[in-house]
Symmetry: C2
Subunit: 198 residues, 2 copies
Amino acid sequence: MGFASEDQNRREKDVAAELSPPLSGRINDYENGGDELLLTPPLNFAMVDSGIFRSGFPDTANFSFLESLELRSIIYLCPEPYPQHNVEFLKLHGIHLFQFGIEGTKEPFVNIPEDKVREALKVAIDVRNHPLLIHCKRGKHRTGCLVGCLRKLQRWCLTSVFDEYQRFAAAKSRVLDQRFMELFDVSDFKHSALPPIS
Amino acid sequence: MGFASEDQNRREKDVAAELSPPLSGRINDYENGGDELLLTPPLNFAMVDSGIFRSGFPDTANFSFLESLELRSIIYLCPEPYPQHNVEFLKLHGIHLFQFGIEGTKEPFVNIPEDKVREALKVAIDVRNHPLLIHCKRGKHRTGCLVGCLRKLQRWCLTSVFDEYQRFAAAKSRVLDQRFMELFDVSDFKHSALPPIS
């Protein structure tokens, strides 16, 4: 550890330069593309963890951006069929679709099927499926619940799980979603459902 | 690409199982720790990209969580000296501190020093400094501006840059921060300031 003055703020160490493929790849693209070629992430897009992204429903305007993620899989949390344009995008890029049809509901009739979230979580943490995008319609409730359960598995305290959920759901935050996350039991994942660690 | 039924939703492919070290490491810790050992990310914590995180000011309650990130560097965007507890945490874990003292201001007196943001951005995109945490006090304005400039370098359209900024700044969003990001010229980074790509 050391304090660097702002003049000395770049380390000239013997640390080997390592690549951060998604970041460097995407910055590097900038050199090859023109300034005018802007990318449009889907609504409510964010990185959840290495190899896991979240968003609202991607449409054709987002496809160039999605290409830059080099996705291997998508977890889609709505019951409606996937639109034809999106199906074609997936086919073109060899992306595997995992669909877990969870109905979009409004309070007080929120009823999140725990079994589907549990199955989706197994897919999400399986590194063989990464890089992976989790999305529903707006990236708020269904996606927020699944990510919240993942955070519990990562041992985040509930305050932080809810804080993250609320950042995406904003004015649409639902107490019943938060109760679902609070009650979701991750102990099953401790022994049986973890991805192979090598 | 293929559609899997929910029963067939796990691929049994010849894809080699690959590790996503931060995620699997942190999930794996769950097996070794007790259920009661919860982690508390700092206020407004999020992953920006592979190897880059953002947050508000971390305090001692967040140290266990920060350990799990295995940070190599921190970019600290406030002029105030780093608290002694935090200095000790950095020393203990060999984390390098890059401080760029940007005053916290309130509109209409927002004056973001572009040279400091530019220097901080060089540090942020240098993969030799990763994993890296960017933080200021609340993780809203100074951190939001730096991350916004990074997104421009990644060719995100301004709408998406502002959407992300607002997700963290929420009710405290500042038009002058957004103007700063809009005017920030990333063309310098195209040729000179990129990390070595190998």
